[in-house]
């Protein structure tokens, strides 16, 4: 595995793990507060605190929120820079569905007993809708990108509603087409690459200005002449 890919893998792994860790901390912290009635207070205040927060819960929730957001930023940047399919569309649903579950569970069985807690049930329905509707809309597009078999731009063409950054710098350099036959050959003979993918990469270089019209036509003819055979 190339060293850059290994580094990217570590970065994506730990940043996404941080996001999941943050959501889990918020989820568990919310449950701990709901166990004692749904509200608590902590810290220096001129008022008498009627219900102190459970030990460590404020730190867990605050750490989960801000740590999770920081990790989310790193994760988004890391996946976008490497054009890696991302689980980002699932982050919002994961947060709201998990918190909605808490509302519904404690709404149906309030910790103090005594029937249904309708306010919590209402919040639960709202949260489940806020998480479930985006999941329903976005899950198909996100899952398609993990199927592979095409380029990012091909995925975008199939799913025009999803923006997907294309970094021309990540494409092969123009040197691969001019005066460096070994590199050009490596591009054309790349094992497993498909004809459409090669043509798209070529077209993106042409659009970026790395190839002029004559070079583009020559390279395209070479790809088509090879019949796409690896």
């Amino acid at each position: 595995m190339p060293r850059s890919r290994l580094g990217g893998s570590f970065l994506i792994f730990f940043s996404l793990a941080g996001v999941a860790c943050g959501i889990t901390l918020v989820f568990l912290g919310m449950r701990a507060v709901m166990e004692i009635g749904g509200a608590c207070a902590e810290g220096a205040t001129p008022y008498v605190i009627a219900r102190p927060c459970p030990k460590g819960v404020p730190a867990a929730v605050l750490g989960g929120v801000w740590g999770g957001l920081a990790c989310l930023g790193v994760y988004v940047a890391a996946t976008a820079a490497r054009q890696v399919p991302s689980l980002l569309p699932f982050a919002w649903p994961a947060l709201f569905l998990s918190l909605g579950w808490n509302f519904l569970e404690f709404g149906v069985r309030p910790p103090g007993g005594g029937g249904l807690a309708w306010a919590w049930i209402l919040c639960g329905v709202l949260f489940v809708g806020m998480g479930g509707i985006p999941l329903w809309i976005g899950a198909g597009g996100a899952a398609r990108r993990f199927r592979g078999g095409g380029t990012a731009s091909a995925s975008r063409a199939r799913d025009p509603g999803v923006r997907w950054p294309v970094h021309v710098a990540a494409e092969p350099s123009a040197a691969a087409f001019s005066g460096a036959p070994e590199s050009a050959g490596a591009l054309f003979d790349e094992p497993g690459a498909e004809l459409v993918e090669r043509l798209e990469r070529l077209a993106s270089l042409h659009r970026a200005g790395a190839l002029d019209d004559a070079e583009y036509r020559a390279a395209k003819a070479r790809i088509l002449g090879a019949g796409g055979a690896p």
Partner: protein, 33 residues
């Protein structure tokens, strides 16, 4: 991106999400109990 690469990233990220949930449970027990 080939199918093999896509599968690699999917498995990596699913493993990361699972590890993150596990770490969150462990961390919460560490600081909140």
């Amino acid at each position: 991106m080939t199918r093999g690469e896509a599968r690699y990233w999917l498995l990596l990220q699913l493993a990361a999400a699972a590890a993150g949930v596990g770490a969150g449970i462990w961390l919460f027990r560490l600081i909140a109990y």
